[in-house]
Amino acid sequence: MLGLGSDLLWADMNRLLRLLFHEGVLDEHFLQLHHLQDESSPNFVSEVINMYFHESEKLLNNLRSLLIHTHTHDYNKMGIHLNQLIGSSSSIGAKRLTTLCLAFRAATHHSNRPGCLRALEMLEHEYCYLKNKLHELFHIEQQRALAAAARYPLHNNNQ
């Protein structure tokens, strides 16, 4: 039963990944992160992704603050935050989010407030979606690793 569970989870994980690729949410650079993970750096992917979440939330808060909570709209500063977000998002393979940032940045270049507001809303929505999906992916991965470890107890050294 446990062995079967591990295979089913594997299938779930692949299905979710395929979906995210198909939707254009992620691109191959997300997979590149996994190439960099090995025994010497076993938590590399989750470390980078958590770093990304932490940084992105700060940037999104700053953007919201600049656009909505202040009377003067510093499009230049928004552009700087967006450059950062574009850089880190493309580095981890968050393709759709990157595209939304680019549209937002274009709106700042034209000091287009309604355009910026729309872009911010879409960006925040996309970020939530991405974060949920990545958490789901990590969760399945964890479950699968547990199930696989139970299936092959000889691989564990703690007995």
């Binding site: 990944l17 395929r18 650079h29 997979l31 590149q32 190439h35 960099l36 090995d38 770093m51 580095s91």
Partner: protein, 228 residues
Amino acid sequence: MGMAATESQQFHVLAVDDSLIDRKLIERLLRTSSYQVTTVDSGTKALEFLGLRENHDGTPNTPSVSPNNHQEVEVNMVITDYCMPGMTGYDLLKKIKESSSLRNIPVVIMSSENVPSRISRCLEEGAEEFFLKPVRLSDLNRLKPHIMKRSKLKDEDQKQQVIPEKIENLLEVQKQHQPQEEAQPQPPLEQQQQNNNNSNKRKSMEQSLSPEPTDRTRPRYSGIATVV
């Protein structure tokens, strides 16, 4: 005048990037490729690390630390982001190439934006390579010839004996990171690039999807870039 310490067979790369995430990525990429890495978050810190300080009038001093005496600060290559606040990667490149003591250190520029004029400007200023971000493992394979070439120029007699050993070391360490199904004979460097693309560290996720496009080993800007 050869390499002072025989145990530092690894090449030391100084990576410069203001983004925390990109620093983490480039550090991991370089370590995975068996380079020793130091990361800094600005061009000014990079110059400090290299031992170059400026006079008030802007002319650089010779480094306060001789590279041959202190193995730990010897840098074999600098890889830097282009867009950074304050001193850009291009400014850093210029300063390095203007320095009599540092100008032989190969400099690689990274940028998330594909701007041909930017690329040619950097290459004209003396950059060895220009990488588009996000940087991949396969991109780093293009660095090996530059490093090997520099070693040869720096110390002909000693290193010519050591180099074949080093190449084998690098290949050996890479093989360890990429366990392969059947034992294969040591491939030459060009084939190794292909192998890296096809049989990179496999994480389960990747197997279900179609293989990555393998066209990144070829130089991207064959008209502009220096072809090794």
